[in-house]
Amino acid sequence: MSSILTYIAISEGKIKRSSLEVLSRCKSIADANGLSCEAVIIDEKASTYTDSVQKYGASKIHIVEDSVFSQHRNAPLLSALSKVMEISKPKIVVFASTEGTKDILGALAANQKAGVVADVSSFEMTSTGVSAKRPLMAAKVVGNVEVTGDTILVSVRSGSYDLVETPVTADISTVDISINEGDLKAKLREIISATGDTIDLNEAEAIVAAGRGVKDEEAKNLISELARVLNAGIGASRALTEAGVYDPSLQIGQTGKVVSPQLYIAVGISGAIQHVAGMTNSKVIVAINKDPDAPIFEVADYGIVGDLYKILPAFIDELKKIKS
């Protein structure tokens, strides 16, 4: 039986929810097309994640476990994925679109002579391959893409599919791979992790995003307070990450992360197309801006025109009352 293979991304000791969204989608495609729904986990502790993966319908799980996978490195990840693809012989391999995926997707396609389509918002299996929808032109347009090939790689934006539990008992198979640290040409020197224990923006149910209007410590504190009340992740526009006000990993937009939380609160963000491209798929958008003509209001479900220093304290206070 041919397979559809989902790559399960692990980040900081947890399965990325977006990988399970992708697996849920692959399970339904597998059932509709008579394919074996398979998953691959590549991590130093890969075998510890199989229970959660079975819950979403993977009937075969390929495990590649080695200390070399304790951090993201493209060369060993490519070797491992190539090897698993040779074993699983998938028609389609599907990834959540993370920075880790973006780092290897093109190289893996070249290596496997596979068709590829990146960053889709939906995809279907067709008789000749895959058809998918993906945003183009800074997400102002949607393109319908047809991909052909015996093997096709697809990466999917987070939030594109719902999680669906379909528990099965998986056949778990270990794939051995020997990689010598010394053979890796690219050396990982260090990881500068500034985000610490903040909430992953791709996984967050709610996001509070700060823009140019957030100018000083007082405003930053209000952002933090609002995020705390909502248990939200904190994001920022490119203007603020470039100015060093927020960590670059928090940038939302065409250049940074593309997010789709249930609730997105844009504070002091004007709404340049590059920013909107990264958040327009959020379920509910709230914009707070003192300029009534700011383009962000064109995509906001709730637009509050006003000074953030006056709006946020009352907004936070009211949310606290509702929460309690």
Partner: protein, 256 residues
């Protein structure tokens, strides 16, 4: 160090457009140097200024793409190569990577750099494809570059933090526009660019097969993105409107 920067002419995403019967209609004159590639050129120029070397650019494109090459030369690149195509081809990331790979097989270079994606399609595939085809160590999404003891030190933005990676040369790197502000060519640069060499080579001379040039992904039609209507806008007394919206998020939007 010899830098080779792959640049691309792309539609200006700010240009007005129409969609008619699934086709995207734009002003064909509104073409620009891809912003991510401009950052790659800028970074190569800075490294050349600090460490010496050469910066060459290569561009696959129609006759009009020579303007894009001139722009990079006006910024300060030393030389350009124009791989001339008609512009009507259905190239995808794989076709571009195959063409570049065929070109680079006969070139000397230390560092190949590219923008991390094209601003019109945002696929971000060509860079790592090219690295794989040329069997080069590589890093993507660079937000900082440095040259140290003959190695390229890349600061890349990963999922949770920044990774510092040391690559031996030759290597490939794809650049984010977060790493710098590309310089605007000044008059002197523009004048100088007119005297700089551009080699034009014919695609056929690279000896690629039809299979290598063919694309296996095609945009078959375009549609408008799902419309997001502007919702309610609240103006007035700050405390009052702030509290009203908070309540609506709970009772109406149901997201609290």
């Amino acid at each position: 160090m010899k830098f080779y920067v792959c640049i691309k002419m792309v539609p200006d995403v700010y240009a007005p457009f129409q969609i008619k019967e699934g086709e995207l209609i734009m002003d064909a004159d509104r073409m620009v140097l891809n912003a991510y590639d401009a950052s790659a050129v800028e970074e190569a120029l800075v490294l050349k200024e600090n460490h010496g070397g050469e910066v060459e650019v290569v561009c696959i494109g129609s006759t009009k793409a020579s303007e894009t090459i001139r722009k990079a030369l006006a910024m300060g690149a030393d030389k350009g190569t124009h791989i001339l195509v008609s512009g009507n081809e259905d190239f995808d990331s794989g076709s571009y990577a195959n063409i570049l790979s065929a070109f680079f097989k006969n070139q000397e270079y230390d560092i190949l750099s590219l923008g991390k994606q094209s601003q019109d399609t945002d696929s971000g595939l060509t860079g790592s494809m090219l690295a794989e085809l040329l069997d080069l160590p590589y890093a993507t999404n660079a937000v900082g570059l440095e040259v140290e003891d003959g190695n390229l030190i890349v600061k890349r933005q990963g999922d949770t933090g920044q990774e510092m990676i040391s690559l031996p040369t030759p290597c490939a790197v794809t650049c984010s526009n977060d790493m710098n502000e590309p310089r605007i060519p000044n008059l002197k640069g523009i004048m100088a660019s007119k005297r700089k060499p551009i080699d034009t080579i014919d695609l056929a001379s690279l000896g690629l097969s039809d299979v290598e040039l063919s694309s296996n992904s095609k945009v078959v039609s375009f549609e408008h993105k799902p419309e997001r209507k502007a919702g309610q806008k609240f103006e007035g007394e700050a405390e009052e409107i702030a509290r009203s919206v908070a309540q609506l998020l709970d009772t109406e939007a149901n997201v609290i």
